[in-house]
């Protein structure tokens, strides 16, 4: 009994930091609709800055002053990030800001490395709260009790701010309809900045307050990221009490998990999230998101057409050049290009559901890594010939996507994204912690292709055929009736359902198809490397694909390919330098700001402006009816306009 109580108390104390960081994330998302990946970095900065301050400021007063000052300092950093990085891209397509925040993560990682070095630092213990208290004979640190006591006050303070003050009213109003708030004369830009300050401050406080329990290291940004997303989603987006309850739930379960089911620790919170979302699709305290409530940001997507003869010739020449690479390129260039093709295929499969279907999956690596593991397991345990294992990998990955897609389909938007992430993490932790079957952290090795493919050049051609083939297949399906039905379900589910299209089934099958193609890329990957490790299933892998799609241009079919190739080659070049993250992060941020439609979308715009390509919209109306084009820009007003028929 005593142990039980002690564990509950430990869980409650752990919940403090988690709640602080998660509530900040929830506030920022609620008002700005930005999924702030850099929130974990704010938390890490809070810890490091707090640590540095505690070295200078002595005593009990110094400790708590350091915590508060660290929070405020991180708040200021948040403001800088918001003004410099996010403000220029608010008008960009939805979720594009996510890429910008990813750039911020990289920059902060290297800046922290520069400032505090690579070693972990141990947090100082809080003066005056150093000892332990015996509760039912079990030792409980005094600092834990202090945290347990403080957290409800912070919750109450935040709740009061949001529910009872004028600022809180503005924040809540902006959460519901930010355009209306703008129309009523509130300066949105400063409201967003203010919310970012508050959210970042909370993250910084969270980082500083957990110092005596955990210290600070350079991995804590990614380590907390998944947990705070889980907390926000379980509690319900935008609900402070929800975030608190969820933080307590996750923390307490985690403490018990460590004691009784040590092999379950990684997966536990994702299981909880999956269960909660399947029972309550909008979290414990969340309300249903009304579709279209926040309006579409940016230009609507253009109609797609199969490539014309010029583009086809260009693509054919490109493929020919790739095919000639072994003649003039080194063996290393073949390996690198094969890696790029594999990654592009993976990114293109995600683009199929994300770009065309509007289904944002945060867990697409599950099918990439899944395919790789299916092939590797078949080869390791059943001595399956490589050719058969290679073909079964997409089948296995497709099957996983079929099951997971079915479970996720009832959710939409961010909740859908989080549930796909939960299942991907589930698969990852299964592979990671079921060591005797999957090799765990050591991975599966010695997975080489058959004799006839087992050297660089033949396997390069093999990759070329299946990689480019897969990409062309995805493109063709995009132009088929099925691809159109997928876009129709995204554009107007209401109209699609009212004209006989089972939108959920269309999306489910598209999800399965994309999973199978990701599995194909995973199979290509595993035989090119000869091994597979759990990292191939990680969140970071999923995010890689997500980032390149947005960098390349989510609204163009070629976006995933352009983005994937650019990022892979850039990474290969940059990782030779010491502070490559800083450079890459800055490049990403600059691309995001300078090319808000992605590389491919911006290049197209540029080509149209200088006259190489034609803008289908303006071109058409120039011939037919110049007045209509002018109207298009003031579409809101056209409701009241009469259109004179010619």
């Amino acid at each position: 009994m005593g142990l039980f109580v002690a564990q509950v108390l430990t869980g409650l104390a752990n919940a403090a930091a988690l709640f602080l960081v998660a509530s900040g994330l929830s506030l920022i998302f609620g008002v700005t609709r930005i999924v702030n990946f850099a929130h974990g970095s704010f938390y890490m900065l809070g810890a490091f800055i707090g640590y540095s301050l505690m070295q200078v400021l002595p005593g009990m007063f110094g400790f708590w002053a350091s915590v508060v000052l660290a929070g405020l300092a991180v708040g200021v950093i948040g403001v800088i990030v918001e003004i410099c990085v996010l403000r220029p891209v608010y008008k960009a397509p939805e979720l594009f800001q996510l890429v910008a925040t990813f750039g911020v993560i990289l920059v902060i990682q290297d800046l922290a490395l520069l400032t505090w070095g690579a070693d972990d630092v141990l947090g100082p213990r809080a003066p005056g709260l150093k000892g332990i208290v015996r509760i039912m004979d079990e030792p409980v640190p005094k600092y834990d009790l202090a945290l347990i006591a403080i957290t409800p006050f912070i919750l109450f303070g935040l709740w009061y701010l949001i529910a009872r003050t004028r600022v809180g009213i503005l924040v809540r109003a902006a959460t519901q309809d930010r355009e209306m708030v703008g129309a009523l004369g509130v300066n949105q830009a400063w409201l967003f900045t203010g919310v970012f300050f508050l959210g970042a401050t909370l993250a910084g406080l969270g980082g500083a307050i957990q110092l005596p329990k955990g210290g600070a290291d350079l991995l804590m940004d990614f380590n907390i990221l998944a947990a705070i997303f889980v907390v926000v989603v379980i509690g319900g987006m935008g609900s402070l009490p929800g975030a608190y309850v969820a933080a307590v739930l996750i923390s307490v379960l985690n403490v018990f998990g460590v004691t009784y089911l040590p092999q379950s620790t990684l997966v536990l919170m994702f299981v909880v999230m999956a269960v909660v979302l399947m029972i309550k699709p909008y979290g414990l305290f969340g309300r249903e998101e009304v579709a279209g409530e926040h309006g579409q940001v940016g230009e609507p997507e253009r109609p797609i057409k199969p490539a014309g003869i010029k583009v086809r010739v260009l693509v054919a020449v490109g493929i020919l050049l790739l095919a000639l690479l072994p003649v003039f390129g080194s063996s290393f260039s073949q390996v690198l290009t094969a890696d790029v093709i594999i990654f592009c295929l993976f990114a293109a499969s995600l683009h199929f559901i994300l770009g065309l279907g509007g289904l944002v999956s945060f867990g697409h690596a599950a099918y990439f890594g899944g395919g790789a593991y299916v092939a590797a397991l078949l080869v390791s345990y059943l001595q399956t010939p490589m050719e058969i294992a290679f073909l079964l990998a997409p089948v296995g990955a497709g099957f996983a996507a079929f099951i997971i897609g079915w479970l996720c389909m009832r959710l939409t938007g961010v909740y859908f994204a989080m549930l796909t992430l939960a299942f991907a993490q589930l698969l990852w932790s299964l592979v990671y912690q079921w060591g005797e079957f999957t090799g765990g952290d050591d991975g599966l090795v010695d997975i080489w292709p058959s004799e006839w493919l087992n050297s660089t050049t033949p396997y390069y051609y093999f990759t070329l055929v299946f990689g480019i083939g897969g990409i062309l297949l995805l493109r063709h399906v995009a132009h088929s009736p099925f691809g159109y039905a997928l876009r129709a379900s995204r554009d107007s589910a209401r109209q699609a359902e009212a004209t006989g299209i089972n939108t959920k089934r269309v999306q489910w099958l598209a999800f399965t198809f994309a999973g199978a193609v990701a599995g194909l890329s995973g199979a290509l990957f595993v035989f090119s490397k000869g091994s597979v490790f759990p990292t191939e299933l990680e969140v970071a892998r999923s995010f890689d694909a997500l980032i390149v799609i947005f960098l390349g241009g989510v609204k163009t079919l070629s976006g995933a390919i352009v983005g994937g190739a650019s990022l892979e080659y850039a990474k290969d070049f940059l990782t030779r330098f010491e502070y490559w993250r800083l450079t890459l992060g800055l490049i990403i941020i600059f691309v995001v700001i300078l090319a808000p439609e992605g590389i491919s979308g911006t290049l197209r715009k540029l080509a149209e402006r200088i006259g190489i390509m034609k803008d289908p919209d303006s071109n058409h109306s120039k011939i037919r009816n110049p007045a209509v084009n002018a109207k298009a820009h003031t579409r809101e007003n056209t409701r009241e306009n009469t259109r004179e028929d010619p």
Partner: protein
């Protein structure tokens, strides 16, 4: 005349609010039936129950003898009921003609095929529907830059694709300028007459209603308070009470 749609004891309550209160009516073959009433009378609720978007609290909806209650919108559409929305729902990433082709692909059950190029199939047929509503010259334009009135026409073309027996139109002229209202409604009347489609529509514009409806239903606070010909409704004191609090009205109907 044959009864196409038979609505019996239809009602819907939202947390105690009786939005639609035991309504009975029928739609006859080939008629243009208007459902009118002040804001909040329950027209849209009624419509959404007919199309399967809302589940009625009580009642049945028989379409050619078959009960539609409990069916999904897409299933009801397959039976031959088309609809247009009060706020248009079109596929903004496609061209105008592709919007219509999409409905044709769905009608022919081709949405799961992955071999043909979608922009090629049923194109001529789709253009013929666009021609019907006067949009053929804009077939290749991007749907997102269409004027609002044209979007309404496009929705009509989409709704005609599967040769419906019954067309449900929720405020077909909402948000349009007066001259355009008349032309769209005249167009609709001509098409449905030509193809023998029955229409049930809601509308706030009394010129449109009295100019084109064959018969009118009046809803007020969820209750059906009148059901009759245009003249009967025009002279019905109860309806006048609801709309203007007495006095004569609807004189200028064209």
């Amino acid at each position: 005349m044959n009864i196409i749609l038979d609505v019996r004891n239809l009602s819907k309550s939202f947390h105690g609010l009786q939005a639609v209160d035991f309504v009975n009516f029928e739609v006859r073959e080939g008629e243009l039936l208007a459902l009118i009433g002040p804001n909040g009378a329950g027209k849209s609720t009624c419509f959404n129950m007919l199309m399967g978007q809302l589940k009625p609290t009580t009642g049945e909806v028989f379409f050619q003898g078959e009960n539609l209650v409990g069916k999904y919108p897409r299933q009801i559409w397959r039976k031959g009921v088309g609809r247009t929305f009060q706020i248009t729902g079109t596929y903004s990433s496609m061209t105008v003609v592709e919007n219509v082709q999409m409905a044709l692909m769905s009608h022919r059950r081709r949405i799961f095929s992955i071999f043909p190029y979608a922009h090629k199939i049923y194109k001529e047929e789709a253009i013929s529907y666009l021609d019907m509503v006067g949009l053929a010259d804009q077939a290749e334009r991007h749907c997102a830059i269409l004027a609002y009135g044209d979007l309404k026409r496009l929705e009509l073309a989409i709704a005609l694709c599967h040769k419906p027996t019954l067309l449900l139109m929720d405020e077909p002229t909402a948000g349009m300028a007066p001259t355009e209202r008349e032309s769209v409604m005249q167009l609709t009347a001509d098409i449905v007459k030509d193809q023998n489609i029955s229409v049930l529509f809601t509308e706030h514009d009394m010129d449109v209603v009295f100019g084109h409806a064959h018969r009118i239903l009046v809803l007020n606070r969820g209750k059906l308070i009148a059901n009759g010909s245009v003249d009967e409704i025009r002279n019905n004191p109860l309806v006048q009470e609801v709309y203007l609090g007495g006095g004569n009205l609807f004189e200028v109907a064209s």
